[in-house]
Symmetry: C2
Subunit: 418 residues, 2 copies
C-alpha cells in the first residue's frame, strides 16, 4: 500500500485522538478563526481557482461544470459563513444516548463519540472542501479529503488556509488533510485503508458511488443519487400536483432530490399532462412519455419513453412519464427503479397515502409536498454532509449526529460475571 | 452471478415487504408457533444433527468444536425458549425517533423501519440458525442464512421446520432461507448481492470477518473478534484486580469478550503476578509474559512473550502479560493492538479512570468490572445478534433496534421549495 495514503491515515488517526478531547467551545472558536482565515486569504484562493478554471477551459469543460468549479469573492464569503453557522450548531459529542443501572450495580452509559477518521471523496466543487472540514471538525473527527483533480489547485489553497488556522490555534494540521495524489491507485488505497479510516463518504455521481462500493473495504455511507418519482392518483388535487411536479423538476435541476419521473393513473393522465404542457413551456424540459401520452404535449420537445428512461437520473431539464393502473403498480414500479432517495404521492385519499408511505422503499417518502425538501437545512438539521441512500447507520440527510458513533462506558466496583 | 443467490435475494426482498407490514402481535404469535414447531420436530432435528456429528468425527473435528456442533433435546428446548423470549421483547418497528413541524407547515417524522433483507454468514453452531431468524423476523426483516458446511444437515432441518411453521401461519416461507450451496463462490455472491441484500452480518472468527470485509459490496456490520485487555494501575485494589482478571480469562474461554492480555505498571507487577500464579493454578492457563515477569509464575506453563502475542486473540486458556510504564503507555498499547471490542482499567484513581474511558478506542470500556459483561443480555437488550466492533450503525452488543433503519415520512399540503 502506498506510503502516502498510509501516512495520511496514520497522521489522521493521531490527530483524531486530539480532536476527540476538544471542548465544544474550543472547536467553535477554531471554526470561527478558520472562517476568518478563509476571508483573509480570499485572494490566494481565487488565484488558485483561476488556475483550475484556466485548465478547465483548455480542456473544454462544459459551462455548467465550469460554473460549479468557479469561486468568487461572494462564494468564498458564503463558504466562510457556512463555517460560522456550523460553529453555532449543537455538538453531538458527549451526548448520552442511554444511562442505566443494572441489577448487579453496574452503571452502563452509552454516549456519542466521534468516529475518528472520516474520508470524503468528492468531485469538482471546491466549496465542499471547507464544508466537509467544518462538519467533521465540529463532530470531533479528523478528515482526509480527496477532491476532484479539476479543482486540485483550489482545494489545495483552501486546505492550506485551514491547516494554517489550525496551527495558529495550537492544533495539529493533520485534523484536515488533502490527498494530493490524484491517481486512481491512490483513490483505491484510500478506499481500502481499513486500518485508519473509520468511514468513507463518497459525494458525487452514480459512477463514483459504484466504484466506491465495488472497491472499498472501509465502511461506506452511500450518498446522493436520486431517481425520484411523483405519483398522481385519481383523487389528487391537480393544481397541487402540477405545482409540486413543476417545483420538483425545475426549481433546480442537477440535484439528487429533483423529480426525474412522473407516474399517473389513467383517469388523471390527460388532465395532468395537458396541465404540464402549459407549465413546462417556460422551461426547456424534454418529455419522455409513453405513446398514449405524447399527444398531450404540444410545446416541449417530446420523445417516446424507452425502458432505459425509467431507470435514468437525468439531472437536467428532462422527465419521464408513465401511466400506471393503480397504486400497487405505482409502488411496484418505484421500488423497482428508484434509488431509495425521495418519493412522493399526490392524493386526497387517506388509505392511498398511508400505503404509499409504508410500502415505498426510500429514505424520504412524501405525501403532497415537493421532493426538493430532502435536505439537511430543510429538515432542520442545520447542515448536511450528504444524503444517505443506504440503510446502514444513517438514511436521508446527514447532519452532525450522523458523523458520530457511540461507545458503551461501564462503571463497576468489582463486578464479575457469575 | 449465480441464479441461486439472485433468486434467494429476490424472494427475500418480496418477503421483506410482507414482513414489514405485520403487526407486533402477528409476529409474536408466529414466533411462538415456530418455537412449538421446533419442539415438535425435535427428533428430526436431532437426526439431522447426528449426520453432521458423524461427518465431523470422520473428519477428526476437534472435540470442543464437536461440542459446539452437537444438539441435544435440552439444547433444542433452549433454542425454542430463546425464540419465545424474543417474542416478549419490545418491537422497535414503527417507533418514532423524531417528529417535527417545520416553519412551512410540513410535518417531518423519522420512524424505525426494518432493513428489509438481512444476510448472516456464520460458522458451525446450528443454534445460531434459529436465533438469527427470531431476531430478524421480530424486527420485520427477511433473512438469508449461510451456515457452516459442518452443520449443513442441522441447519437445513431447522430451516425446514421454520418454513413449515411460516406456511402454516399463512406467511411466505421466504421470510427465512438457507443458502445450501456451500461453495466459496456462493458465499462470495451473497456478499456482493448489493441489489437485494440490505446488510450482511458475519458471525465467526477473524478469518471469516476479514474475508467478508475484503469481498463484500453490501453494507457489512463487523462483529465479534475480541483481543481484550485489562490494565492494572498503581492505585488498583489488587483483590479486585485478581478477581476481574481471573473472571475475564477463565469464566468462559473461546468467547470474544474474554480477557486475552494483561498490562501492569512496574509498582504492582510483582504483586499482581504472584497473586495470579496462585489463582490460575486451578486452570490450565498458559502464561506468555515478558522476561522480568516470568520468575513470578511457578505453577502454570510459562513462555517468553513475543511481539505476536500482543496481537493474538487466544480464545483459550492463554494470556499475555506486559509491563507498561504508565497509563499513557497502556492506552497507546491497547489502541495499537486491540480489536475495538472491550477494554478494562482497574484503578482507584478518578483521573486515570476517566482518561482510560475517554481515550481507549473500543465498543465497551470498563472501570473495575469484568469485560465478560459485554453481551446483549447483560446490557439489558434482551438478546443480541452479535457484537459490533465497527463504528458504523451499531457498536457493541446489537439487539433488535440494531436490525432496523429509519425512514423520513413527510406530510404536506402542497408545499414547494421556494
Amino acid at each position: 500500500m502506498s506510503t502516502l495514503v498510509q501516512q495520511l491515515g496514520k497522521q489522521a488517526q493521531v490527530a483524531s485522538r486530539v480532536l476527540a478531547k476538544l471542548t465544544t467551545q474550543q472547536k467553535n472558536e477554531i471554526l470561527m478563526q478558520a472562517a476568518d482565515a478563509l476571508l483573509e486569504h480570499c485572494d490566494e484562493i481565487l488565484e488558485a481557482n483561476a488556475q483550475d478554471l484556466e485548465r478547465a477551459k483548455q480542456n473544454d469543460m462544459p459551462k455548467p461544470l465550469q460554473d460549479r468549479l468557479m469561486l468568487t469573492k461572494a462564494r468564498v464569503e458564503a463558504i466562510a459563513k457556512g463555517m460560522q453557522e456550523v460553529a453555532q450548531l449543537e455538538d453531538p459529542v458527549g451526548q448520552f444516548v442511554k444511562m442505566e443501572k443494572r441489577p448487579n450495580g453496574l452503571y452502563i452509559m452509552q454516549k456519542r463519540v466521534p468516529f475518528g477518521v472520516i474520508a470524503v471523496i468528492y468531485e469538482a466543487r471546491p466549496n465542499v472542501t471547507a464544508d466537509v472540514f467544518a462538519l467533521c471538525f465540529k463532530s470531533g473527527n479528523a478528515t482526509i479529503l480527496k477532491g476532484g483533480k479539476d479543482a486540485a489547485s483550489s482545494n489545495l489553497a483552501i486546505v492550506n488556509v485551514l491547516q494554517q488556522a489550525l496551527r495558529q490555534a495550537g492544533l495539529t494540521e493533520h485534523a484536515v488533510q488533502l490527498l494530493e495524489d490524484n491517481s486512481r491507485e491512490a483513490s483505491r488505497e484510500l478506499m481500502r485503508c481499513h486500518e485508519y479510516v473509520d468511514v468513507l463518504i463518497p459525494r458525487g455521481g452514480a459512477g463514483l458511488i459504484r466504484s466506491v462500493i465495488e472497491t472499498a473495504t472501509v465502511p461506506v455511507i452511500e450518498t446522493g443519487t436520486g431517481n425520484c418519482h411523483v405519483f398522481v392518483d385519481d383523487t389528487a388535487d391537480l393544481d397541487m400536483a402540477a405545482s409540486i411536479i413543476v417545483n420538483g423538476k425545475t426549481q433546480r435541476v442537477g440535484v439528487c432530490n429533483a423529480v426525474e419521473s412522473l407516474l399517473v393513473t389513467p383517469s388523471v393522465a390527460k388532465a395532468v399532462c395537458q396541465r404540464l404542457d402549459q407549465e413546462f413551456a417556460q422551461f426547456p424540459v424534454k418529455i419522455h412519455a409513453e405513446q398514449e401520452l405524447l399527444e398531450y404535449f404540444q410545446q416541449n420537445p417530446k420523445f417516446l419513453a424507452t425502458p432505459e428512461d425509467w431507470g435514468t437520473e437525468y439531472l437536467d431539464y428532462e422527465i419521464s412519464i408513465k401511466v400506471v393502473d393503480d397504486l400497487d403498480e405505482a409502488i411496484a414500479h418505484i421500488n423497482r427503479y428508484n434509488t431509495r432517495h425521495s418519493e412522493c404521492i399526490i392524493t386526497q385519499d387517506f388509505s392511498n397515502a398511508e400505503q404509499f408511505l409504508d410500502e415505498v422503499d426510500a429514505a424520504a417518502v412524501y405525501v403532497n409536498a415537493s421532493t426538493r425538501f430532502t435536505d439537511g437545512h430543510e429538515f432542520g438539521l442545520g447542515a448536511e454532509i450528504g444524503i444517505s441512500t443506504q440503510k446502514l447507520h444513517a438514511r436521508g440527510p446527514m447532519g452532525l449526529q450522523a458523523l458520530t458513533t457511540t461507545k458503551f462506558v461501564i462503571y463497576g466496583n468489582g463486578q464479575v460475571r457469575p
